[in-house]
Symmetry: C2
Amino acid sequence: MEGFIDGHYFEKWDGMVIGLQVKEILVEEKETEYQTVSVFESKTFGNVLVIDEVIQCTERDEFPYHEMMAHLPLFSHPNPEKVLIIGGGDGGTIRELAKHSLVKEIHQCELDKFVIQVSKKYLPKLAVGYSSPKLVTHLEDGMTFIDRYVEEFDIIITDCSDYDSETCTKLYEEAYYKKIKKALKPDGVICSLADCMLTDAEFMKRFTQTIRKQFPVVRYAFGVYTPVYIGGQCGFLVASKDKNKVLEDPVRQLTDEDVKDMNLRYYNTATHKACFALPQYAKEALREYYN
Amino acid sequence: MEGFIDGHYFEKWDGMVIGLQVKEILVEEKETEYQTVSVFESKTFGNVLVIDEVIQCTERDEFPYHEMMAHLPLFSHPNPEKVLIIGGGDGGTIRELAKHSLVKEIHQCELDKFVIQVSKKYLPKLAVGYSSPKLVTHLEDGMTFIDRYVEEFDIIITDCSDYDSETCTKLYEEAYYKKIKKALKPDGVICSLADCMLTDAEFMKRFTQTIRKQFPVVRYAFGVYTPVYIGGQCGFLVASKDKNKVLEDPVRQLTDEDVKDMNLRYYNTATHKACFALPQYAKEALREYYN
């Protein structure tokens, strides 16, 4: 029960299936140099991007993911001028980063140019990020790109596919986080896609440990609601090179007026603080990696 | 795409489908006097109770729902001695209520005795609640039961099916909340199953307004992660007759030791506070019903 079947697109994970009703297939599964990519128009979630048989985003429910991925690290940093995104081909994270007046340069390192092409065509509300004059896109493997930099970036965001997709596995491993650490300024903050704690606790423990080995402070942002991800929750790991950093306390507070000006639909100051509150099972699972 | 198909149980809602792999059907869909009930053993979520084609709970992911439903109102009340649950046939909410030393009497009003029977047989980890000596079960319609009481209960919990199930529609309407208000003590607190804000905002606004008409304080507890509910999030509306009540601040704080003693896996003091933080779209939708 996977792929386009009986008018739906189905994704499965560990005994659970999620399906979206399909209105029209826009891009039949295409094998690029790196992965498979499809796009379809769903009945109620707008256009949907699928990579390696995993739903990456839908027009309807992408905003919790992209807003939190961008604004959690940015509002944890006093002066985030130079930002790097590894991945993020759909443009949604760039769109959010570009809203910050403090951000001067956004570098994106995306491996697969086909993802950018289809996003520009079929996900214009996300790919609007590509129109930012602050953006430089590098079509390259993140592992080699990042290796060239020493204390260059204030923020590094890893916006990639799941850890079990062939292309992205290495972006969840220690070698990558060593490079990330080297490329980050001393007061820098990182944010990486994590996973659903209830459905994949063992992986979440390993991944938190991997980042904790390189960074003195790591926190799991649990509270990000994304209906189309299996488990209904994805999380992010946010980490800092500054051992005194309190990631739960944003360095800049937003009024409702600010939130409106930035056109934010999910992120606000209360959500920033609250998303780090862990249910007891998550708190116990990650306790040993918290300083 | 609904029901038992091709080795899975499927539920659909507004263009989205959720499915669980089935190991064994334990109770084929049975039409009781009030609704249809099935139970199956899933491959990875344990046993699953289905009422009127909606998954009610699974053994694996029931704890966020039942813990938050019970402990949010109980930890918002200084002395919750006498508690009423309308519905809650699986026993999970009773199990949680029975953990509180302050609670002296738990009254349950469940319409359908078949739900209790199958829960005792197939959901023993939930139905353990029925062994509490504090419990009195009334097999009756909640609407007529509650009508007999005036300022009787400290807490009233409505643990029922969705608003679009025939049996439960009336438990989301104003007439019911008028009765609830009458039956509740002056400093009483209620908690009712609400819905997913992202997939059903219009209903959530109406329902919040319905409760707000009777209660001076109502808050949406947004942060309850339940993978098998479509939308990945369910919420609760918590309300008080005391206009000065701050529901976000629990009146009793729990240490990790307390949490362990109460065998809580989801609820803790941080989760209580955090679950009321609303993402901006929810905050804007409900703003007019907040005092």
